[in-house]
Symmetry: C2
Amino acid sequence: MKTNFITAFLTLVTLLGYAQSPASYVNPIIGTNEMGHTYPGATVPFGMVQLSPETDTIQYSVGQGYVKDVYRYCAGYQYSDKTIVGFSHTHFSGTGHSDLGDFLMMPTTGKVQLNPGTATHPESGYRSRFSHDTEVAKTGYYSVMLSDYNIKAELTTSSRVGFHRYTFPESDQANIILDMVAGIYNYDGKVVWSSIRVENDTLVTGYRQTQGWARERSMYFAMVFSKPIRNYGCRDEAKLAYSDFYRKFNTTKDFPEMSGRKLKTYFSFDTKAGEQILVKFALSPVSTEGALKNLQAEIPGWNFDQVRQQAENDWNKELSRITIEASDEKKIIFYTAMYHAFLSPTLYMDVDGMYRGLDHNNHKATGFENYTTFSLWDTYRALHPLFTLVQQKRTSDMINSMLAHQQQSVHHILPVWSHHANDNWCMIGYHAVSVIADAYMKGITGFDPAKALNACIASATYAPNDGIGDYMKYGYVPADKSSNAASKTLEYAYDDYCISQMAAKMGKADIAAGYAKRAEAYNYTWDAGTGFMRARKSDGTFQSPFDPLSTERQGFIEGNAWNYSLYVPQDPLKLIALHGGNKKFIAHLDSLFNVKLDEKHFAESEDITAAGLIGNYVHGNEPSHHVPYLYVFAGAPWKTQERIHQIVNTMYRNATDGLCGNDDCGQMSAWYVFSSIGFYPVCPGSNEYVIGSPSVEKATFNFENGKQFTVKATNLNDKNIYIQRILLNGKPLNGYILKHEDIMNGGMLELVMGAKAKK
Amino acid sequence: MKTNFITAFLTLVTLLGYAQSPASYVNPIIGTNEMGHTYPGATVPFGMVQLSPETDTIQYSVGQGYVKDVYRYCAGYQYSDKTIVGFSHTHFSGTGHSDLGDFLMMPTTGKVQLNPGTATHPESGYRSRFSHDTEVAKTGYYSVMLSDYNIKAELTTSSRVGFHRYTFPESDQANIILDMVAGIYNYDGKVVWSSIRVENDTLVTGYRQTQGWARERSMYFAMVFSKPIRNYGCRDEAKLAYSDFYRKFNTTKDFPEMSGRKLKTYFSFDTKAGEQILVKFALSPVSTEGALKNLQAEIPGWNFDQVRQQAENDWNKELSRITIEASDEKKIIFYTAMYHAFLSPTLYMDVDGMYRGLDHNNHKATGFENYTTFSLWDTYRALHPLFTLVQQKRTSDMINSMLAHQQQSVHHILPVWSHHANDNWCMIGYHAVSVIADAYMKGITGFDPAKALNACIASATYAPNDGIGDYMKYGYVPADKSSNAASKTLEYAYDDYCISQMAAKMGKADIAAGYAKRAEAYNYTWDAGTGFMRARKSDGTFQSPFDPLSTERQGFIEGNAWNYSLYVPQDPLKLIALHGGNKKFIAHLDSLFNVKLDEKHFAESEDITAAGLIGNYVHGNEPSHHVPYLYVFAGAPWKTQERIHQIVNTMYRNATDGLCGNDDCGQMSAWYVFSSIGFYPVCPGSNEYVIGSPSVEKATFNFENGKQFTVKATNLNDKNIYIQRILLNGKPLNGYILKHEDIMNGGMLELVMGAKAKK
């Protein structure tokens, strides 16, 4: 079945006239330096394993709060570093916080060292120097020479199983270190327990539980070596309790049960020159038994190259859901953006359907695949809408995953930031509602709408969460009752619009009307006096002092009043009216892009660099992502076209620091995918997209329903950035709004481009 | 079904002429002071829950080793104490180490206090003073007045669910404390993680994982209150990691997810005078879901008295497996001994058959009930042999449990000391082999003999364990290679005899011969020069200096050369020959009982008190348990009769300190049950019992096969302690050996007693 499909697919690729496969354009190194927080390692689309190198392991201290050096290593890797600490099996892509880096493995030779050592003195630990000249990062494959040991490390992966191939020099002391303490966003004591069993001379199983971003997170593994272990051992750097166990056995050498709070282990071998030792490393959210099942199901054999090829095939399959015509450089940026967009959410279940639920019980996913890593405050904007076009089956799975989360939650609410059987509650809003309503409005099936609507309402009415109780009482979140009150009011109002939309379509008029009313809550934050959105207190007055540029203590999160004053996606026309009409609104938008900022502004914000700023427009962070498209609603689409063209071409580059901010689980990249093709979902849940300015010559969506939709940018070049005419299936389109159904029905959108703005 | 059975049983009880049920004689307070280490609380036969008061919670420090105060609280309770700290749900009975005390609950009134306070200043914490005058301890029921709060606490239980009934005074602040840190054999940091979910206003679930005697042990719970919780909260005394969780929520008050390393919680209510709050508290080794299933299956309703009655019925059923005629005082001692014998091993599975395996995966017990708490070094001697008579079905279950353990063990060996999905490796030997072979020899079925024999052999040949590799290499455990070498050699030799017996019966002559050879290893420890068993070094010489009375550094464990020189249960006649024949052997035995010891001897041994000593005979510890019966083999049965009479009547008393040593999971009590009836299994695996001296007038075994076997002590009184004649089914018995089959076939053993020794 699978082979046939791949053959058919490759034939299709040939027929479509590709010289190169989409995967071949992907450059996973993009965004690995500075702010992108992407990782260069091996993974498959939405895979459970993200097998990638760590270039440093920085610890923070409890209570220390934001630590810049820790923040740099959200993905474990910074391109500017000179050493590699090891290869771990779980990574977030593009987050501004982390928790992963599970099961760090490092091949070494010579004396066994069980601490990582320092970047300046790598010889003080197990880490190694490396050169980017030896580094290869491709879809599903990563390779590097570990120069201190003369070991070539290669990584590939299936969905649940990482696959290591280490080519050793001749050595009577070749080691593979497995550091159970190492982790990303680590602190002393984060690992509450870890345990390893050496089942036989090639099979090792284990797990660890951590207390980090996820309050209680367990991950299990099973690993197999291609060669029998000669000897092995461990050190537990935590103190041990009394036990006959430790009296009877030397548990540090060749003893098959190793456990503790700070456990570091090694496995040693003799190697001939050029000898390869392969390690298959399977994960499970449930048990070592589950990990072993995953291992046997996904990589039963030892053919590394075949697994690598399969990973590339998987990527080609997913990436070819949109095929484009553009320059090679643009293809690299585009397909890497698609690649980044297809990394999260991540699969979170064993091959038998078992997964750990939010209630810490094990559950079986029946009728769906269970996903985690929902960074919803980021991804409801463009990533999930992109999935409604090119990952419809997975959208259904993701919604079912969120509904399961809701049912298992003791709060009975949808995820805020779903992370491995936990909610880490990062950021604000109940934006799962947006994802669900958007999918429902677009006719995506495979989940129970009634159950889904109830889950949305439960989330929108859960009083203890983040000011929702006060929001329901006052009609807005009062600034004296809750932090980031203005941002919350605005985002809750948008989410409520989504519920209203969904309820209306389901014929539940009362619910629809109630939430439509709540969706107008943005009015409470509008301060006509200053012309900005502003946090209001429970006595009805606005919070003072007011500084529209400050991001601190103004009632906004990851943005300022300027940014959030443009956030009413559910009703841009009313927003424009609040601002005093088109002219004033356009002037406001213009000044947003044109203002010259003091350096102090945004200095305290994590996710923002100068490269991501145009005036006070902050592309490196999400609240601005729809903003350039708002000109369209004010009757100035050419201004949208200019800005989109500018952002697409300056803020996404084929470079290690090619992302101007955190990729945020694919949201930044999904923005690019939409905007480079020529339209964007300003208001998920509305079934409408706003046409911007294309920067690829042609893009074809190959839908799961078998239809195709092509966006063609006629006469596009560096100067012809303005849309002159819009033809949908050959007929002129009235305005700049594209309906979802027009896309899904298949056909052709032709954007005829020219050098002059069409006013 | 059940009701019918109970009716039939009660009819039977009436027909047999009982004025009182067996359970009514049980006094759980016996052994709760000083060395017995029994607990007074509520439990059912072999139940998973042991719900009992803690009178103190002593912590030890890591690396501190043996701590006398901690040791005193192995069962959580010392009768001499004046305060109760709370009621926890898991206890060992009679052990000399511990690990339990899971989920300590305490009802209080007034200000919420979350630390236990001190015995001298109970008002400094949640504990309360109490008086034994208010204390009731019966089979399946415990009650006490907590005088500091004027709360009556009552406890009962089913197998998996503890049931609390608290009668409160009028209070606007009635609290139930749930201390997730408290435990027996506790130390700072023992709890690696604990987690609680308040599912709704009456249901709470949670779990904790500890690192203690069991290296990694998890226990889950579900509890239901009979009245809605008014408010609740917690304190985590460990530092917390960074998380948005803690930023967004006040997790200490009315927040339904409470977790941490040092978590203490409370649940508060208003109460009227005399208002009862009931709490059902279910355990599970697997999950909170499992605990909830157990709760719903076992105690669906709220009828406390009915559950209490059911527990008593369960006890009556089990205790009436042997019915005796004796004085009330003797009945109290006898039925309490049976009660203690039927507390362990403990059930370790949910109602759906799921349990946590030694590999930390969850397993389903198919075709058997899964048990844990196998203190095999103690219990292979008399407790398991007792079970081969009166718990045949459970014997089969226990063997299947041990075989599952073996299959899940990374060492692939049978349990040494099986404890909640762990082996704590306490003490020496592979005595599971004895339990299995004994049962097999006796025709107990329901397990796979081939699998069982393989498991026995795997255990007997696992080189890394406790000198077994050297034992196989040298023929004995060399003293310079392993501690307690002489004890190990002697006990391994006995276990090997058991394997030999089993293999022979299975027709595996080669295996039988090989292990029969190994069973002679005791010869290596025999030092003809001193006339004692003695540790031999790898060079063949004996270890010096030699002190036959010392229990330290002589190669013996929990005994000295005197005691262990009498340990060749598999061949008493050869042992006697080694000692130089009957006369010398009898003299040796006599001197054992008659020697006057310095105080320094045994001073360093935990499990021994003056009350348990007769000369150098140490009844408080197991290696001596068969010793008084050895006179029979040397042709002096009257000396056995004297000593048995002496021990039975002086070392088992109806008193708080009525046990002269740790009850050791029922071994001490099982010794009493056998010896008071009149025979004892000197060598499990031989299918023979040695006749001693009865101290009850009549005892009838009511077997599972429907047959009955009665031992009648004709003319028994305080002076008539000597057997004059033995009649088996009316015919004279030749000698003092009783065959297992003679018992199981049913019938009558008449022991005609007299005042003069029959020499």
